[in-house]
């Protein structure tokens, strides 16, 4: 589904990611783990096209790397970005409406909004509330629901558990697991490696802009020092 080849990402003159390659097969949940500053968000931003990058990014066989942001979304990429970035000055419902802006059929948009408000009852209860007044966990759910409104082929999640209480983190991971079981293809960026490993089919470990290890949960958890540190085993 997603194939990334020799991706380097630049912030001005600084190269933050150095020629990494990885894949996400259809229906899989793959996680990209690593400490602060490893280059996880840079990688996500390169896939959506909001930063300068070199290398090749393919989604469903189509090359994305030379297309503007909007076309990539239109062709099936969707993101719940780092920091959630819900539209604080809009209602929950309007946030979802914008999430579905690229969907042509108005009836589909309406039924999708209804569907996600039902799937996330806390959002349903607050449909007319301004998104800026939601709690962190609720905003994260909204960011995920907004991303799903475009009916993406692949969902990019950038640290969905960031800054949330353990109970809410568990809820968020339940949601991700649910999405995976429904067949959604997911690229999950996390610092919370323990939880992420548990629901991922495959994981990559990123450090200083390079992939330093990859594999299944069992393999990674044992083999790598950095991973041990991340998961808190060490």
């Amino acid at each position: 589904m997603l194939a990334v080849d020799q991706l380097s990402v630049f912030h001005g003159p600084i190269e933050a990611v150095h020629g990494i390659s990885f894949n996400v097969a259809a229906g899989q949940c793959v996680s990209l783990l690593g400490p602060n500053g490893a280059g996880k968000t840079s990688t996500i931003s390169a896939i959506t096209g909001v930063v300068r990058a070199t290398g090749r990014i393919e989604v469903d066989g189509e090359i994305m790397s030379d297309q503007p942001v909007e076309s990539r979304i239109l062709k099936g990429v969707s993101v719940a970005p780092e920091g959630r970035r819900v539209f604080a000055n809009l209602s929950v419902e309007d946030n979802l409406k914008l999430g579905g802006a690229i969907v042509q059929n108005k009836a589909n948009i309406r039924s999708d909004i209804a569907h996600w408000l039902q799937t996330f009852p806390v959002l349903g209860e607050r449909r007319a509330q301004l998104a800026g007044t939601l709690s962190g966990g609720e905003q994260q759910m909204l960011a995920i629901a907004r991303a799903l409104m475009s009916r993406p082929k692949i969902l990019l999640l950038d640290e969905p558990s960031l800054g949330l209480a353990p109970k809410i983190v568990a809820q968020i991971f339940d949601i991700i697991r649910h999405l995976k079981n429904e067949g959604m293809t997911i690229l999950l960026v996390e610092q919370n490696a323990t939880q992420a490993l548990k629901l991922s089919d495959y994981s990559y470990l990123l450090n200083n802009g390079k992939i330093v290890a990859e594999g299944s949960a069992e393999k990674l958890g044992q083999s790598n020092e950095l991973m041990a540190e991340l998961t808190g085993i060490a």
Partner: protein, 298 residues
């Protein structure tokens, strides 16, 4: 009593015009952080369109009004496409300098290719006749102006609340990149912002022309200055702020005209700006600062 009512209507009419002008600046500023000083020249484009129609002996008021508004909208969108798009993501200073440059270039084009001197346009004088409103003498133009502004505000609100593109424009004021990340084309959002801004300039142009009855290359300066001040007072980037700022400016101006003794009449603007300065000491970011309005960004 009559005198007071008359002055209130005066203040409302001035305020309405300033609100219309300020909204045109604010809608562009809110999404691209650009103070479009060429907004005044967009108004002038509307004025010169009326001159051109006059030369062609076209006097039908509907055609004159529609053409001026359409010309302003077209000019505004063209400015976005050719002048502001290249500096879209540049820092605010670059945008500001570009806007000043565009404003000066347009003024000089008018100067070179039309005339440095004022040209009379009388086709809209008919909009202005004395009206007796419950025993108070007012001008029909003032009523049109207030009514049109009220209508524009309602229409703009409906557009911004009910349509996907309108909602996207409100979202873009907060986080433009995120709007692109849901797949809404940035070019479209910018084009619509300038289109709406041009429409507002075109409408303001109708009233300005009906009152002054002439065009000259620098006619845009005063309106854009008023719009700028109204935006600063209301809180730059806030649309309700622009409207509020416009009406406050109108009220302060009329109050100064009424209250200042005859011999200080020439210092009206000094007093107006003095009061505005005091307002800004009280609220440095303007009355409805967008930062407060939008809440904290996470």
């Amino acid at each position: 009593m009559e005198y007071i009512v008359q002055q209130v209507i005066n203040a409302l009419a001035f305020g309405a015009e300033y609100a219309l002008l300020a909204l045109g600046l604010a809608i562009v500023f809110s999404i691209m952080g650009l103070v479009n000083f060429a907004h005044g020249e967009i108004i002038a484009v509307g004025g010169y369109t009326m001159v051109a129609l006059g030369a062609l002996m076209i006097g039908n008021p509907y055609i004159v009004i529609a053409s001026a508004v359409v010309a302003a909208m077209f000019a505004s969108v063209m400015l976005e496409r050719f002048a502001f798009r290249p500096v879209r993501y540049a820092d605010p200073t670059t945008g500001l300098l570009t806007a000043f440059g565009v404003s000066m270039i347009l003024q000089n084009l008018f100067l070179l290719f039309v005339s440095p001197r004022p040209i009379a346009v009388t086709s809209l004088y008919f909009l202005d006749w004395p009206v007796n409103l419950f025993g108070v003498q007012v001008s029909s133009l003032q009523l049109f102006e207030t009514g049109a502004t009220a209508l524009v505000i309602v229409a703009l609100m409906l557009f911004l609340r009910r349509t996907t593109l309108g909602i996207a424009m409100r979202a873009a004021a907060l986080d433009f990149e995120m709007v692109r990340l849901v797949g809404i084309r940035a070019n479209r959002v910018f084009a619509v912002a300038f289109l709406v801004s041009g429409l507002l300039a075109g409408l303001a142009c109708i009233f300005i022309m009906a009152r002054r009855g002439s065009v000259d290359p620098h006619m845009g300066f005063n309106p854009v200055l008023k719009a700028f001040v109204a935006c600063v007072v209301g809180g730059f980037g806030s649309l309700p702020g622009a409207v509020l700022g416009g009406f406050i400016l109108g009220a302060v101006e009329v109050a100064m005209l009424v209250l200042l003794p005859q011999e200080y009449g020439g210092m009206k603007d000094a007093f107006v700006f003095g009061i505005i300065a005091l307002l800004l000491i009280w609220r440095p970011n303007g009355i409805l600062s967008p930062r407060i309005e939008k809440g904290d960004k996470v």
